[in-house]
Amino acid sequence: MNDAALKPDTQDIVVDEVFPHAPETIWKTLTTGELIGRWLMAPTGFEPVKGKHFTFQTKPAGAWDGIIHCQVLEVMPNERLVYAWKGGHEENVGYGSRLETVVTWILSRAENGTRLRLVHSGFVTPKNDSAFKTMSEGWKKVVQSIGDIAGEQD
């Protein structure tokens, strides 16, 4: 599919669902700035035009300002939309660490609607514990707050 998918040290997130709407309707929600803001996050500078740069403001972490830098890579109306999704900072570990990924939206006709497939590719997953060791006190705090997080899951 793309370079990231071929690298053995990266992984993809795939979400695949069928929606009872026409591809054209879904395409509109993926490619209209105002509508994107209503289900994803409000983009700045988005246009469904190859090469176009845009950003999303997310939660900052450490030396990272929280800005996701995107660039439209492919546009096939009602079928396929691909953009780069980059952010993070070298000094961070876990959330807020360097992020160089690609988001691909694939629309295909399904019975009673449209299959929408998201592939978020290029995640570099930790191979050894060195990254986590450098978190030292940081991840101990994670453990301490896990009670709350775990409680929410049940």
Partner: protein
């Protein structure tokens, strides 16, 4: 989804306050035995052993046998599923798909 399953396992494993306390003690020491963990814990050695077994299955602790003793140490990378980008976005996109479904219902009833 593999990583979603892992998050659930780690969450479930650490949801138990006693088990979490055991894990925190393992984290604070370089290596520790069941006997040392039991001391002052207020629970039986058997209970501690069970908690260590769960922690080991979740990839949160590793063990090393030496003579009669088994030493446990933390494997912080086991917490990876809770703190890395991938798990962040695993949750993020599922939530966004739910938002999208709601929005589509609104604009195209």
């Amino acid at each position: 989804m593999i990583e979603a399953a892992t998050i659930t396992v780690v969450m479930r494993t650490l949801a138990d306050p006693t088990r979490r306390a055991v894990f925190e003690r393992v984290v604070r020491s370089d290596e520790i035995t069941v006997v040392e963990l039991t001391r002052g814990s207020g629970v039986t050695q058997g209970a501690i052993s069970q908690h260590l077994k769960s922690l080991k299955q979740a990839g949160l602790v590793a063990e090393r046998a030496q003579g009669r003793n088994v030493y446990y140490r933390a494997q912080p990378e086991g917490l990876g599923p809770l703190v890395d980008w991938m798990s962040h976005y695993g949750v993020f996109w599922r939530e966004r798909f739910a938002n999208l479904r709601t929005l589509l219902k609104e604009i195209d009833p």
